[in-house]
Symmetry: C2
Subunit: 331 residues, 2 copies
């Protein structure tokens, strides 16, 4: 693990907070070396993804740091799941603004430790950098690179859907956006439990690390919902050379989203859900439901892939609805 | 490749500047998917490293952006080399400050393209993030994760040196620090060619990507010189449970370093050389020289590993010298 920084006590920082996260994995070498070893004697291909969270863009300065760290890891695990891979190891490049103290770093590490246990993934390296340009503190940044094992090939891709394939989505849609509204004090009509649920969904998304691998061989296309259901289905449709047509009445909502003053068309435009959206042929519905059952991950069938392009959202009468197309803002 | 950002035209940015860097590698999927595939059917273990460069810490705001990008990649390739692995693929998380325009991004990509050709490495994914906390632009940051192939096992480590092993170093020492002095206008006594040489060594270090793999099976310990020769030999000595003793008169200097008003004891404390420092038994000197010859990488024998701990620098009369121990600052 590198220590190229102006921050005093860099080695102490790594030793105290990050070395414990690398314990128990041979190839991490206790973060003492220039790099880590990824043994591949199991012969499984690997999936690699990098996603960064920047303070002020992807999280709010007053978000709890343990949750920020967990979200940084989880959005990467979600990308692995979308390709059908199970979490294995990760690296972290962490920029620590001058005004953040060791307690903040300790909280980040505590969050990572919790999620390492939850998802069976281990830190194998990284970099911590303090300071910044002279007199310019700037935002915190956590860049995670996660590597996962692809137990079966081929990997799930965004392209690959065929006309007539069903469109599916895991879990419920719009809760990330609802949680952000609650954080901003903009969501009326929720009780305390619903508010907590929504904040958890925004700050601690649950990557579908079991469903993704279980869909390999069944799903024809897959991605995770980070930019919003409509925007992400647009990516899937484009890469598949098709259109995605969904029925708004079939999109699954949480009780909290349903109770809130939160229009359905805004729920499907809000991001940060980290559910999986995927397609499969109608004759594989039983296989999809079996994957859902064995991984204890709810799934809903919400539409159909069609020739042409784009995303169409239909109301109960089969009429296309106008959907907000403004880009999702994560905070 | 993810696009979670406030910066308008994010998809355009990726399509225009980064997709071309992923061309020609199947598993990169043209950066269209959530993650990349790393096929391991060759059975070679992989080495993984993450290092970030932050504006104001590791590079100067007016450094040419193509060189900043190349350095970000090269410091990671140097870590791979230190473990004995050859470059294969990398990901990039890029934070773009608001005040940087598309030309800046284009120059970054141009630099990466040049080094991809030079080192046989391909971009397979990443993330670009613009903006920052409200009203807080903050520094640019480039976090690279590089993955390399370990053609032969075991990987080179920092620990593993034995008492009596020779201490070797590749290339010349102190040039990175000299280049930084030139950039700051602090280096007197150099002609134009020497000044250019020194700046190149600071801005465009040459990772020893061929020597590192060639040393597997010969070197007993190895790392790259980023924090300064003395500091890094201190890491090697500590992980090996030994002391490193070097003869200052045997440390190799460039003509530029020798010509400059630049004390030898400061050259061995300056970082950013990205040479390899390694140990090998005296009966493997021919093997070290053969690795040097076949990879066309100069090496010098500069000392011996001893029992006890720490780093001792001896003058021509065998007397220990005082060496500045202040931490190396990269800019």
């Amino acid at each position: 693990m590198a220590a190229r920084t102006d921050r005093s006590g860099e080695f102490d920082l790594i030793a105290r907070y990050f070395k414990p996260l690398a314990a128990g994995r041979d190839g991490a070498f206790g973060l003492t070396d220039d790099a880590a070893l990824l043994g591949v004697s199991d012969g499984a291909d690997r999936i690699v993804t990098t996603d960064a969270l920047v303070e002020g863009i992807h999280f709010r300065p007053d978000d709890p740091p343990d949750r920020v760290a967990r979200k940084a890891l989880r959005v990467n695990l979600s990308d692995l799941a979308a390709m059908g891979a199970a979490p294995e190891v990760y690296t972290l490049a962490l920029r620590i603004p001058d005004e953040r103290d060791d307690d903040w770093v300790a909280a980040l590490a505590r969050g990572l430790a919790a999620d390492q246990a939850r998802y069976g993934v281990t830190l194998i390296g990284g970099d911590t950098v303090g300071g910044g340009a002279d007199g310019d503190s700037g935002p915190a940044m956590l860049s995670v690179t996660a590597i996962g094992r692809l137990a079966r090939s081929p990997a799930l891709r965004r392209g690959g859907a065929a006309p007539g394939d069903d469109v599916w989505v895991s879990g419920t849609i719009g809760d990330g956006g609802l949680g952000l509204r609650v954080c901003k004090g903009e969501a009326a009509g929720l009780d305390a439990a619903q508010r907590r649920f929504a904040i958890d969904r925004y700050q601690l998304p649950e990557p579908r690390v079991e469903l993704g691998p279980a869909l390999v061989g069944t799903a024809t296309a897959c991605l995770d919902v980070s930019d919003g259901l409509v925007a992400d289905l647009g990516h899937l449709a484009r890469e598949s050379g098709l259109a995605a047509e969904i029925l708004l009445a079939d999109v699954p909502w949480s009780d909290a989203a349903a109770a809130a003053d939160y229009p359905e068309t805004e729920r499907i435009a809000a991001g940060d859900d980290y559910e999986l959206a995927f397609t499969a042929p109608p004759d594989r519905r039983d296989a999809v439901r079996e994957a859902s059952r064995t991984t204890e991950t709810p799934v809903s069938r919400i539409g159909t892939m069609r020739p042409s392009s784009g995303v169409r959202v239909l109301d109960r009468n089969g009429r296309p609805l106008a959907v907000p197309r403004t880009g999702w803002r994560h905070r």
